[in-house]
């Protein structure tokens, strides 16, 4: 009895499957129009870095970013930039200065209508930065304040030849606002793979990686991009 029941239900499922398959075939035969997909190179810059350079005295930075469409949903992407940032806390001040490159892929999760090429994407990057860090000043920290002030050292010291490698998870959107002209925003989560720390000091800021945290080897970032798409070839 049990086997008979299984047999019958299995057959029913099989029938259903065939039915669904038949439907799909029908749709395909009706949908004979195929849309042209543009392939090419998109180049742009991060306007948040330009804006921050103008507003924030402690920061200057510039980034060129680009992506190249490899297939329907996969894009090769890269960012190249320079940054200088002064970090000031209650007890010390340091300036990090250097350049970075990030290379990776983006995966477009958005299904476009017609021939549009907007993106809601996530992707990965490998980031590499070489930089120097200058300790501008510091004041010795002491919990006991019977003797004040504590020693303050204003002699700046430069630590050069520093570097860092990290992995980055990125998520964002890119929207075509005019023909071939895109605006986008993205958020980045970073994890350090290796970093060269200065002697008797710490990398407080790494160009491309942003602020480092005492509590872990992770970092965060964001970007507002404007970019222009240069069409190279078309595919159906």
């Amino acid at each position: 009895m049990k086997y008979t029941l299984q047999y019958v239900t299995s057959c029913l499922f099989l029938l259903c499957c065939q039915f669904v398959a038949a439907q799909e075939q029908d749709i395909k035969s009706i949908d004979s129009i195929q849309y042209i997909q543009k392939y090419g190179l998109r180049v742009g810059t991060d306007i948040s870095k330009l804006l921050r350079t103008a507003i924030d005295d402690d920061y200057s930075g510039f980034e060129i970013n680009g992506d190249f469409r490899l297939s329907k949903k996969i894009y090769a992407a890269a960012e190249l930039g320079v940054e200088e940032k002064t970090t000031t806390t209650n007890f010390l001040s340091a300036t990090a200065s250097g350049s970075y490159i990030k290379i990776g892929v983006d995966y477009n999760m958005y299904t476009n209508w017609l021939s549009m090429s907007n993106m809601i994407y996530s992707g990965f990057r490998t980031g590499f930065s070489t930089f120097s860090q200058t300790r501008n000043s510091y004041t010795v920290y002491s919990q006991n304040q019977f003797w004040t002030p504590q020693l303050t050292n204003n002699e700046s010291e430069e630590f050069s030849g520093l570097s860092s490698i990290w992995l980055e998870f990125i998520i964002g959107i890119k929207a075509e606002v005019f023909t071939n002209f895109f605006i986008g925003l993205n958020a980045q989560l970073k994890g350090t793979i290796s970093t060269k720390e200065p002697e008797n000091f710490q990398n407080l800021y790494i160009p491309g990686y942003n602020k480092t945290y005492d509590s872990g080897n992770f970092g965060v970032g964001y970007g507002y991009t404007v970019s222009y798409f240069i069409p190279i070839f078309e595919k159906k």
Binding site: T89, N90, F91, L92, M109, Y110, I120, S122, Y138, T139, V140, Y141, S142, Q143, N144, F146, W147, P149, Q150, L151, T152, N153, I171, A187, L189, N200, F201, Q202, L204, T212, Y213, D214, S215, F218, V220
Partner: protein, 167 residues
């Protein structure tokens, strides 16, 4: 689309749930103080209390170390100046009040400093090397002898006694 939203939200949560790194946690070892134990002059392994102890700034008699204002103790924890190579204290035994000060002795702590990086929030701490305690001679010293625990005594933490003073 929904999936994207969930991932985005997760992202924001991670980005903002990070702890604040700008406050130096109290349990982080930073600039250490000098720990001195008072010992018996004859049985010099035995701690010996100093009665009615008062410790004040050598240059300013109104500035007294809060924890040592007429107390009976066999140990004192002395903060050291980080911007100088010596710190001077006046230490009283049997202090009653300003007119009856008991027996004051002056100690000079000499050392060299090095600055060691701790963390973003705490910045740098100062460590002390080649620490020496000099007891200034007067007609009636109650402190008899100050001995470091090690040669070229260093003060890098507050986990151990650095000096003993016999009386």
């Amino acid at each position: 689309m929904k999936k994207t939203l969930v991932i985005l939200l997760l992202f924001i949560c991670i980005a903002f749930s990070c702890e604040r790194d700008d406050l130096c946690p109290e349990d982080t070892p930073t600039t250490p103080s000098l720990i001195v134990e008072f010992r018996n002059n004859i049985l010099n392994e035995n701690p010996k209390n100093v009665t009615r102890l008062r410790v004040e700034d050598f240059d300013d008699a109104t500035r007294v170390l809060e924890a040592y204002n007429i107390v009976t103790e066999d140990q004192i924890i002395l903060p050291l100046k980080t911007d100088a190579n010596e710190t001077k204290y006046r230490v009283y035994r049997d202090y009653v009040d300003e007119t009856n000060t008991g027996n004051p002795d002056v100690i000079t702590i000499q050392y060299s400093t090095t600055q060691i990086y701790v963390s973003r929030a705490c910045g740098f701490k100062s460590n002390f090397e080649n620490v020496e305690i000099l007891i200034e001679n007067d007609s009636n010293n109650w402190m008899l002898f100050a001995a470091p625990e090690n040669d070229n005594q260093i003060v890098t933490n507050e986990d151990e006694i650095h000096f003993t003073i016999r009386h």
